[in-house]
C-alpha cells in the first residue's frame, strides 16, 4: 500500500527518451526483460480480468442480464452501496481531521499516532471482522446489553430496544470502516505536509475565519489528493469480503453484500450469475484504476508546469 501513497506525491512521468548508449542494457537483455514482464502481467493481471467478463458472458448477453433480475442480487447491490455510503464519508471526515492535526501541528506522540492510523492495513480481514464479534457479539463485551431485556443502569426505553449489530447491517458498516480506515488519511498527510501552511497563514492574516480558511484555501488545495483517497477507499469498501463475511451472518436478501452474494452463487454452482455480479465489481475496479491514473497524470503535469514556470 505504501506504493499507492507515495505515487501521488513522488511519481514523475519519466520514460527516458535519449538514454546514453553506455548505460543501456544489451538488446537481448531488453527483449528478455520485456518478454518476462509481459508474460507475467498477462498471466496474473490480464487473464483474471478477462476471465470475469468471459465467464459472465459465456451463455450470452440475455442470460447475463437475467442474472440481475433477481431480488437477492438487487438487495446485495443496495446493501453494498449503503455500506460504502456510510463508511466512505466517515473515513473522509476522519482523514481530513487526522491530516490537519498531523500535518499542520507539532505535538508529542505524533509519530505514534501516524503509525496507529496505518494499523488496519496490517490486520488480516478475517481478524478485522472477528474483533467486532468480540465487542458486539452475544458473548462479547457489549453484546449482552444490546438485546431487549432487563438491564440495570439503562433506561426503560433502551431496555425495550432489540439492537442488532453483529449479523446485521451496523456490523457490516463497522467492519468496512475498519478495513478502509487509513485510505484517505494516508493520502492527505504527506500531501498537506508537502504543501506547508503559508497559504493558511495568509488567509488568516487577511481576516478569514477558521472555517472560511478551511473551505476556501485548504480544501481546494487538497481536493485531488482527497478524491484519490476517496476512490481507493470506495473500491475497498464495496469489495471487502473477509471482514464482512465474519460479521454478516449471510442472510440472503438482508445481510449479503455483493462479494458475499458472489460466494453464495458460486457455491451453488450458479457460475454465470456469480460472474455477472463479479463483472460489476470488476468494472468498478477498472473505473477506479482509470480515475487514479488520470489524477496521477494531472498531478505530474501540474508539477512539471510548476517546475518550468
Amino acid at each position: 500500500m505504501a506504493g499507492i501513497a507515495s505515487s501521488l506525491t513522488e511519481k514523475q512521468g519519466s520514460a527516458r527518451g535519449g538514454t546514453p548508449r553506455v548505460i543501456r542494457n544489451p538488446l537481448w537483455v531488453r527483449v528478455l526483460f520485456m518478454t518476462i514482464a509481459f508474460v507475467f502481467v498477462a498471466f496474473f493481471l490480464v487473464l483474471p480480468l478477462s476471465a470475469v467478463f468471459g465467464e459472465a458472458l459465456r451463455k450470452g448477453l440475455r442470460v447475463y442480464l437475467a442474472s440481475f433480475n433477481d431480488p437477492d442480487a438487487l438487495s446485495a447491490i443496495k446493501l453494498t452501496l449503503l455500506t460504502a455510503l456510510c463508511a466512505v464519508p466517515a473515513n473522509l471526515v476522519f482523514g481530513i481531521a487526522a491530516s490537519w492535526c498531523i500535518a499542520k501541528f507539532d505535538f508529542r506522540g505524533k509519530a505514534l499516532l501516524t503509525t496507529l492510523i496505518d494499523l488496519p492495513f496490517a490486520v488480516s480481514p478475517v481478524i478485522s471482522g472477528l474483533i467486532y464479534v468480540l465487542v458486539f457479539g452475544l458473548q462479547g463485551w457489549l453484546g449482552p446489553y444490546l438485546g431487549a431485556g432487563d438491564h440495570p443502569w439503562f433506561g426503560e426505553w433502551f431496555n425495550q430496544q432489540d439492537i442488532k449489530i453483529i449479523f446485521a447491517v451496523p456490523g457490516i458498516v463497522l467492519a468496512t470502516m475498519f478495513v478502509t480506515f487509513p485510505f484517505v488519511a494516508r493520502e492527505l498527510i504527506p500531501l498537506m505536509q508537502a504543501q506547508g501552511s503559508d497559504e493558511e497563514y495568509a488567509a488568516l492574516t487577511l481576516g478569514a475565519s477558521g472555517w472560511q480558511m478551511f473551505w476556501r484555501v485548504t480544501l481546494p488545495n487538497i481536493k485531488w489528493g482527497l478524491f484519490y483517497g476517496v476512490i481507493l477507499c470506495n473500491a475497498r469498501a464495496m469489495g471487502e469480503f473477509g471482514a464482512v463475511s465474519v460479521v454478516s451472518g449471510h442472510i440472503r436478501g438482508e445481510t449479503n453484500t455483493m462479494p458475499l452474494h458472489i460466494e453464495i452463487l458460486y457455491n451453488e454452482y450458479n457460475f454465470v450469475a456469480a460472474f455477472a455480479v463479479s463483472s460489476l465489481l470488476a468494472l468498478l475496479a477498472l473505473v477506479t484504476l482509470v480515475l487514479k491514473s488520470l489524477i496521477e497524470w494531472q498531478h505530474a503535469r501540474t508539477r512539471k508546469d510548476a517546475a518550468s514556470a
Partner: protein, 297 residues
C-alpha cells in the same frame, strides 16, 4: 502543560486531534484490544492448545511457507516489471502501469473465482497446465523418490497448494513494483555513466551500482507482499480446496472455529497472527527509515 510543542496561530488543533483520537480509539484500538484482553483471560494451557494443535500448526506452515514463496516470486518478477516500466518506453506502457494496481482494486472474492476458473482442469490455463504439472511431479519423483512430492507440492493446481500460491502471488504483485518504481525513477543516470566511464561493464554496473541502491526498497516490497499474503482470505478460499492439515490457511481456520462457536480458539489464533503482523510492520518501518537515510546521503 500543553501537548503542542509550539504555539501555532492555525485554528482547529484541539477539535481535529480530539476527533482523530476518539474515532481511532472507537473503530480501531478498542476492538483490537478486545482480542488481546479476551485471550489474556484464557489459561496458559488452553491458549497453547488453541494455537499449537496439529491442525493449527499445519495451517501456519502452509500460510507462512506459501506466502514466503509468493513474496519471493513477486520480488523477482516485480523487479523486472518495475525496471521495464521505468526504463523502457513502448506502446501501452501507461496501461500496463495502471494495470499493476489491479490486485488492490479488484475485490478479493472476484479475483478468487476468476483465478479458480482459469486454473481449474477445464479452464483456459488449467487444461494445458494440469498435464504439465503432473509431468513435473512425475519427473521430480524420478529424480528424488524419497520425497512424497504430490503431498508436499499438491497433486493438482486448482483446489490444492499450487492454487494457494497463485492467489497469494496475485494479491502481492503490486507491492514490489510500487516500492521499487519511485526509487528507480530517481536513480540518476550520471551514476551509471560514471561507473561505465570508470571501466565497469554493464553487468558490473547492474550488480555493484544499481542493485545495492534498489535492495532496501526491494526488501520493503517483499516484506509488504509477505505480510499481506499471510492474512489474505478472499482470493485463497475459492482456489485452495481447503483440506484440513493440507491446504487450509490460517485465516480460514479462524472462520472455521467461529462457525463452530469456538470464539476463544479463534481469538487465540488471531492474537498469534496479530503479533506476527505487528512485528512485521515494525520491521518494515525500520527498513523504510533505513532506506530513506541511505538515500539522503
Amino acid at each position: 502543560m500543553s501537548v503542542v510543542r509550539q504555539r501555532s496561530v492555525l485554528p482547529g488543533f484541539g477539535l481535529s486531534l480530539g476527533f482523530t483520537v476518539t474515532y481511532l480509539s472507537l473503530i480501531v484500538l478498542i476492538p483490537l484490544a478486545a482480542a488481546f484482553i479476551r485471550t489474556a483471560e484464557m489459561s496458559w494451557g488452553d491458549f497453547v492448545q488453541a494455537v499449537a494443535s496439529p491442525r493449527v500448526l499445519a495451517s501456519y506452515r502452509l500460510s507462512f511457507g506459501v506466502s514466503l514463496l509468493a513474496a519471493l516470486v513477486n520480488a523477482f518478477f516485480g523487479f523486472i516489471v518495475a525496471w521495464v516500466l521505468v526504463r523502457y518506453s513502448f506502446p501501452g506502457r501507461k496501461i500496463v502501469d495502471a494495470l499493476v494496481d489491479l490486485p488492490f482494486a479488484l475485490p478479493t472474492a472476484v479475483a478468487g473465482i476468476a483465478l479458480t476458473a482459469i486454473y481449474a482442469k477445464n479452464g483456459w490455463v488449467g487444461q494445458w497446465a494440469e498435464p504439465m504439472w503432473s509431468g513435473f511431479l512425475a519427473w521430480l519423483t524420478g529424480v528424488m523418490p524419497s520425497v512424497d512430492w504430490k503431498k508436499l507440492l499438491g497433486a493438482q493446481i486448482a483446489f490444492d497448494r499450487p492454487g494457494v500460491f497463485i492467489a497469494l502471488t496475485f494479491i502481492g504483485l503490486p507491492f514490489v513494483v510500487r516500492t521499487l518504481q519511485p526509487v528507480l525513477e530517481e536513480l540518476e543516470p550520471e551514476l551509471e555513466e560514471a561507473a561505465a566511464s570508470l571501466g565497469a561493464n554493464r553487468w558490473q554496473t547492474m550488480t555493484r551500482v544499481i542493485f545495492p541502491e534498489l535492495l532496501p526498497p526491494l526488501i520493503t516490497g517483499f516484506a509488504l507482499a509477505f505480510a499481506r499474503a499471510v492474512g489474505e482470505y478472499g482470493s485463497v478460499v475459492f482456489i485452495a480446496g481447503n483440506r484440513p492439515m493440507h491446504s487450509e490457511i490460517t485465516p480460514l481456520l479462524i472462520i472455521t472455529k467461529l462457525e463452530q462457536y469456538d470464539v476463544r480458539g479463534a481469538t487465540a489464533i488471531a492474537v498469534v497472527m496479530l503479533v506476527t503482523s505487528f512485528i512485521l510492520l515494525f520491521l518494515i518501518n525500520l527498513l523504510q527509515k533505513w532506506s530513506r537515510r541511505h538515500h539522503r546521503i
